[in-house]
Symmetry: C2
Subunit: 210 residues, 2 copies
DNA sequence: TAATTAAATGAACGTTCGTTTAATTATGTG
DNA sequence: CACATAATTAAACGAACGTTCATTTAATTA
């Protein structure tokens, strides 16, 4: 096997992905050498080329794979017909997923510019598909009078930025639990779109984690 | 002059800073070579070392300088005693400043990890001083009953992430003007902390840009 | 005008980079 | 067990990296 991302799922393939993810997230794509990745796997640099044609393919694989899994998980999330509940469910999903996959999320934002044009476009399309989920919830909710927002696209970008920002400061073992953080963000997002009364769903979950 | 950041304010010094800012923002610190920076200035790579001792000092200078100017501008912004107005003024300042200095803001977030420990700490201290401004507004406002927030530190980080996120999508000449974007974000932030009625200040500015 | 200093050049330094190649080892199938 | 194939190693490639340095050029001061 050589010159292509083909040995999917084999032991070394997965270990190379994992090592690259770890190192890219901590030091950045451009600062990490193939030799460093190989050393972390316990192998020589040349061995990586049996699983990935080059360094760029390794980055591209990590990013597109992450975006695909994000979308897949997002489509499998619980969703209500009520815009209000749908938004809350999206927020909970996004916060949880982005805390669980901190490294993947981080490089998906930081290393976009190190993707060659074709790979960049592929990731960009996937990202836009994800952002559209929230934008549609907001648009439908605004149309139904459930939300008080000036502009659904901007509101969507603002909310995603707010939520994803949790990754820049959250660390396990800190002052707040994941559940507590989730509640804080849910409340802020709901309020930001003009929803002030706790919903049944919101109220029940706040009791649960009180 | 050599081996130190000493030729501050000279022509080439400023041009090197500007070229580095431009290139770091677009391609990332690690991906930009001293030769590329020099070429953009119209000079040979060695000439840069008459103004900066090394590449790291160039990055560090850009980041600390940016943070200092941000804090200086922040301290010069209009500020009300009323938490509600103070928050609105902070939001307007932050949005404007971060749209005006897109490149500086971008590298201040993206290239932190490429700073050596000592330089990193310096920038981090400045960043925390800035974040504290918003946190104090939120804390005081919450104490006075002006805001409906669960946790001032988290709310502060969430709001800053939301506002700074404008840099990832805003481009001049787009669908919305800077003023319109400012209004949208002001409204979202005020609502996110539980403020729903347009204030006098908010109302007046919305009229102005209607 | 002469002396001094600053700035820039152009070549070179040692090192590291991503990647390739030939030889060797491991693996799995008849 | 033999044999084919896949995986890995160790060495090497040319290119590019940050940085240094002797020297030249330009500007300033004496």
């Amino acid at each position: 096997m050589a010159r292509t991302v083909g040995s999917v799922g084999t032991k070394t393939f997965d270990e190379v992905r994992k090592a690259a993810l770890y190192l890219f997230a901590r030091h950045g794509y451009a600062s990490v050498s193939m030799r460093q990745i190989a050393a972390r796997v316990g192998v020589q640099a040349g061995a990586i080329y049996n699983h990935f044609p080059n360094k760029q393919a390794l980055l591209s694989d990590l990013l597109t794979q992450h975006m695909r899994e994000l979308i897949e998980a997002c489509e499998a999330r619980p969703t209500s017909k009520l815009p209000l509940n749908a938004l809350e469910q999206f927020v909970r999903f996004h916060i949880r997923y982005h805390i669980d996959r901190a490294d993947e999320v981080f490089i998906a934002y930081m290393e976009l510019r190190n993707l060659e044009p074709e790979n960049f476009r592929e990731v960009q399309v996937l990202r836009q598909r994800y952002e559209r989920v929230l934008r549609d919830i907001l648009r439908d909710g605004a149309k139904a009078g459930a939300f008080e927002i000036s502009d659904a696209p901007v509101a969507g970008m603002a909310i995603i930025a707010m939520l994803t920002g949790v990754n820049t400061w959250f660390r396990y073992g800190g002052r707040l639990s994941v559940s507590q953080i989730e509640e804080i963000y849910v409340k802020m997002v709901m309020q930001s779109v003009g929803v002030f009364e706790p919903t049944a769903l919101l109220g029940a979950l706040m009791e649960e984690n009180a």
